[in-house]
């Protein structure tokens, strides 16, 4: 009789492994969401000079557990005019792709669900499926605010997917693989990809903020204008699944992609001696980016929808295309050295940062000129 790992018969081990993997991913998603909601509230509180949650448990640590229990025990309320099956299916449609994308995240040297050779493509594919659930949720709610939220979300997510994928392409060009493991292994020692491709990291980070509905791009659920956007009609654990689990799970996935592609994944001091230390480094790096996202949320105001779309189509996509052309040309011209690519990418970053004030000043000047032109006749009429 063949014996698999841990002396278990392979016929039992294969399904058992599947159950363990899904259970582990669910466990991580649930606890990650609890932790991130607590972090989000605490960080916003610190930035806004408040205390944040502090009554339940030490430092308010158990507050989100109490909130989760409340959500689970809530009555399953559904408005009469909602669209039966769609309303029920939408949270699952948002949640399942997020959970499936955890399969290829490399937590440590040997801790990975599946080493797909198209790992990066798999992740973008699943990221693009989320929008289907959001649009269905907006439609099924049979509510104006939810519908507008769903439509906005469809426009926003499909648009920002393009610069996101284009930014990933430049990393694949440099590394020469789409497998998350290979990409991590290619960044040996302190020479992580962000030193070579800072511009694509910048583009990806901005687009990822929009893809995960984070401020300043959280137009689909803009509270001040749309109540809660596509989430308006949802309550109880359906709301919890959609917002808490899926959104925070997606944030984690996106930050894990950033960590793997640009910051060396699980690699760090002491990993060669203790491979399990990689999981710690990976988690620390991921949470560093999550904290940056929360910091941005507390700092920046929300954009307007036309600003959001024109920034993507007129700003991010051309930038991403220039980046790809530069990286691809230099990778062909200098196949043995990454230095020219790094120089070109840093030059693009400097150009981008220097160009923003220039463009803003020009835009301000045209706005002022227009205001003067439209105000002048009125003044003459009054006098």
């Amino acid at each position: 009789m063949p014996v698999g790992p841990f002396g278990i018969d392979p016929i039992i081990w294969a399904p058992l492994r599947l159950v363990i993997a899904v259970g582990l991913a669910l466990f991580l998603v649930l606890n990650g969401a609890l932790l991130q909601i607590y972090l989000e509230r605490k960080i916003q509180a610190i930035i806004q000079d408040r205390l944040g949650p502090y009554h339940v448990g030490p430092f308010g640590l158990l507050q989100t557990f109490a909130d989760a229990l409340k959500l689970i025990s809530k009555e399953d309320v559904r408005a009469a005019a909602t669209d039966g099956w769609f309303f029920i299916a939408a949270p699952a449609l948002v949640f399942c792709p997020m959970l499936a994308s955890w399969a290829v995240l490399p937590f440590a040297q040997d801790i990975v669900g599946a080493n797909l050779n198209i790992g990066l493509l798999y992740l973008t594919t699943l990221g693009s499926m989320t929008v289907l659930g959001i649009v269905i949720a907006g439609w099924a709610s049979n509510n104006k605010y939810a519908l507008v939220g769903g439509l906005r979300s469809a426009g926003q997510l499909i648009s920002y997917e393009i610069p996101q994928i284009l930014a990933l392409v430049s990393v694949a060009l440099v590394v020469g693989s789409l497998s998350m493991i290979d990409i991590t292994r290619s960044q040996t020692g302190p020479l992580v990809n962000v030193l070579i491709l800072p511009f694509s990291f910048l583009i990806y980070f901005i687009a990822a903020l929009a893809e995960t509905n984070r401020t300043p791009f959280d137009l689909p659920e803009a509270e001040s204008e749309l109540v809660a956007g596509w989430l308006t009609e949802y309550s109880g654990m359906r709301w919890g699944t959609m917002l808490a689990l899926s959104e925070y799970g997606n944030v984690t996935v996106v930050c894990a992609i950033i960590t793997t592609l640009w910051f060396g994944g699980w690699q760090g001091p002491g990993v060669d001696a203790f491979p399990l230390l990689g999981a710690l480094w990976f988690t620390l790096k991921v949470y560093a980016f999550i904290v940056v996202m929360m910091w941005i949320r507390a700092t920046l105001p929300r954009l307007r929808i036309d600003q959001l779309m024109s920034f993507c189509w007129k700003g991010l996509i051309p930038m991403a295309l220039v980046n790809i052309i530069a990286v691809a040309t230099l990778a062909l011209a200098f196949p043995n050295s990454l230095v020219p690519i790094a120089i070109a990418n840093w030059a693009l970053v400097v150009l981008f940062i220097a160009g923003i004030p220039f463009l803003q000043r020009r835009r301000l000047a045209t706005l002022r000129a227009r205001a003067r032109a439209s105000a002048a006749p009125a003044v003459r009429a009054a006098s």
Partner: protein, 175 residues
């Protein structure tokens, strides 16, 4: 006992999914349900590609058809006027003609499919390096032609949908 039985079972489930989903898309009255079931059919097709060893094609199938095209169809449905009138089948008023046409195509195809006697082709060959190499070498010209076609379609769509509304233009200038 091994896991040889898994692949035929998965294939059977996916086939049922594709055929039932496709039939439901055509037969259902509710257009949103049809769109969602179309996404389901595409997902089952992607599963078929995975069974054939072409994971890349499966990923692109989901990325483009489920993630983009279905969403655009839903987007279109939401922007179209929805009347509360009698719900009839919209596009199926020529049943006899359609039946004749389908029979004319389907019967030869069915007959032809039983005439294959050679061994079935081996799965595989759809993985990433092989696909990328063929797209950028042997099929570079068709690839470029397709992209030019898409560009022309995009420009055409913009020209067709652009309205020269004076009030709207004034609004835009004020902004």
């Amino acid at each position: 006992m091994t896991f040889d039985f898994v692949e035929p079972v998965v294939f059977a489930l996916l086939s049922i999914g594709v055929i039932a989903g496709g039939a439901a898309v055509v037969l259902l009255n509710r257009i949103t349900a049809a769109a969602l079931l179309m996404a389901f059919t595409f997902l089952c097709m992607a599963g078929m590609f995975v069974l054939l060893g072409a994971e890349t094609i499966a990923a692109f199938q989901v990325l483009i058809y489920v993630g983009a095209i279905t969403v655009l169809i839903l987007y279109g449905v939401m922007f179209t006027k929805f009347s509360d009138g009698p719900r009839a089948l919209l596009f199926q008023r020529q049943t006899p003609i359609a039946a004749v046409l389908v029979a004319a195509v389907a019967i030869p195809v069915a007959l032809l499919s039983f005439s294959f006697t050679s061994a079935p082709p081996r799965p595989g060959g759809g993985d990433l390096p092989a696909l990328a190499t063929s797209v950028f070498t042997d099929f570079a010209f068709p690839f470029e032609v397709a992209s030019v076609l898409l560009l022309a379609a995009m420009v055409g769509a913009i020209v067709l949908t652009r309205r020269d509304d004076p009030e709207e233009a004034a609004m835009r200038r004020r902004r």
